[in-house]
């Protein structure tokens, strides 16, 4: 069935102790869709992103990826995570592995690809993110922008069905933001299904099909970028946009 959404979250609730971080969240992301999640700091964007591959378990509700409910901890969950790419704010490249090894490791160990095929694919992906000439360096020897591009290549090496980005450019120096956004924009144009938490309004306008606005653990708005930026319906979204745009 191609009309089941790639991601489906229904009535999802989550607490951290007393704190209610996700409140009755309902969200669907269709195949090939790019959804940008906006919202003030602490509104639950990262948590939302991390529940989709169960890095954070939820209290109640359902989450399905490609029509399959998230399995409990174990082999089946690992199998699902292999199909869901994730890019972190802090890159999280494996510090003891070279750039090439970072990209090859999961295809070798999780997908059991043979070494030659994994290496060929890794080099192709590194070329695609413009970083093949650094493949024998360690992550600590690269700039933040370069590390994040390697992290994207590492996720793509698993041939994921969907990519999750949690503020991929927030830890970068300003001059490196664009090189990462360019890679993401290309991915979006090629039809990758993406859920992107970001504060980059330019990217949201250019690449997103939908904008989801969160505040205090709730999805407050869910609309097209055009609608959201020109005609936000909630006060909280207006307030948020006011603060962002006066920067």
């Amino acid at each position: 069935m191609t009309d089941t959404p790639m991601i489906r979250m229904a009535a999802v609730d989550k607490h951290f102790g007393e704190l209610h971080v996700l409140k009755d969240v309902n969200l669907e992301v269709d195949r090939g869709q790019v959804v940008v999640v906006l919202g003030p700091s602490g509104s639950g964007k990262s948590t939302l992103c991390r529940t989709i591959n169960r890095l954070e378990p939820i209290d109640s509700g359902t989450i399905e990826v490609d029509g399959r409910a998230l399995p409990a901890e174990g082999k089946a969950l690992a199998g699902l995570r292999a199909d869901v790419g994730m890019v972190f704010q802090s890159f999280n490249l494996f510090a003891h592995k070279t750039v090439l090894e970072n990209v090859m490791l999961a295809p070798l160990k999780v997908r059991k690809q043979d070494k030659a095929a994994a290496e060929k694919n890794a080099v192709r992906l590194l070329e695609r993110v413009g970083i093949a000439n650094q493949k024998d360096k360690y992550p600590a020897q690269l700039s933040g922008g370069q590390q994040q591009r390697v992290a994207i290549a590492r996720a793509l090496a698993m041939d994921p069905k969907v990519m999750l980005f949690d503020e991929p450019t927030s830890a970068l120096d300003p001059e490196m933001v664009q090189e990462v956004l360019d890679v993401m924009t290309t991915l979006a144009k090629e039809g990758m299904t993406m859920l992107v938490v970001t504060h980059e309004m330019g990217f949201a306008r250019r690449a997103a099909h939908r904008v989801v606005f969160m505040a205090d653990g709730e999805i407050v708005e869910d609309s097209t970028p055009d609608d959201f930026f020109t005609n936000p319906s909630s006060d909280r979204a207006k307030d948020f946009l006011g603060k962002i745009l006066t920067h």
Partner: protein
């Protein structure tokens, strides 16, 4: 010098025994220590409990007792006939692994959680995350204390002399039987141990330098 040269056969045999005992026990203790550390950080309560109990017992038992158990008590249990050498290795490994485990565990705490999260997000299982990502980095961060444990192990091999494994610590007995000057003879044993520690120290420095690029 004479004591050394006149009894060079004794010294050679003794130190060869020491080196054999050390190499087997060192490798064994590193492997068992890593497995115990994995148990100590695992999400499975039974494994964690086993690891904790093991560490608390072995760390608080004098090595002499552990070795005496394998020298005298174990053969009486008549479970499975093992050579003295094997029993000495088992005793040293079981004892040393407790210390290796605790050092590796402290190394695990130095690895940022993002490393394990990235690994899980890629579809690695818990065991793969530990063996591919977390433990290799943890070990790299604790090379100096691990080397200290191995140096202590090297010296602890002399305790195995208490149950007639041929190794350097047992040289003095044979020397006194041959009527040689035992005091000078023991000095040479000490020098021999110093010489054995040098390659360990060099290895430690080398690993430390090589792995620091990745940090």
């Amino acid at each position: 010098m004479n004591v050394l040269l006149d009894n060079i056969d004794l010294y050679a045999r003794g130190f060869l025994g020491t080196i054999e005992l050390f190499v087997v026990s060192a490798i064994g203790s590193l492997i068992l220590g890593a497995i115990l550390a994995a148990m100590r950080v695992s999400p499975v309560p039974i494994l964690r409990a086993f690891g904790t109990v093991y560490i608390n017992i072995l760390r608080n038992t004098p090595l002499t007792l552990v070795i005496f158990f394998f020298a005298f008590a174990y053969p009486r249990l008549e479970i499975y006939d093992l050579s003295y050498f094997t029993r000495a290795c088992i005793g040293l490994i079981l004892y040393t692994a407790a210390f290796v485990c605790e050092v590796i565990r402290s190394g695990v705490n130095t690895v940022p959680v993002g490393q394990a999260e990235a690994s899980r997000a890629l579809g690695f299982t818990f065991t793969q995350t530990l063996s591919q990502i977390v433990l290799p980095q943890a070990v790299r961060n604790v090379v100096p204390p691990l080397a200290n444990i191995q140096i202590a192990l090297l010296k602890n091999t002399t305790i195995a002399a208490g149950f007639s494994v041929t190794e350097a610590g047992g040289i003095y007995q044979a020397l006194s039987e041959r009527g040689a000057n035992v005091f000078v003879g023991l000095l040479w044993v000490a020098v021999g141990f110093l010489i054995l520690v040098v390659p360990l120290t060099l290895l430690q420095r080398n690993l430390d330098r090589r792995w620091s690029t990745a940090r």
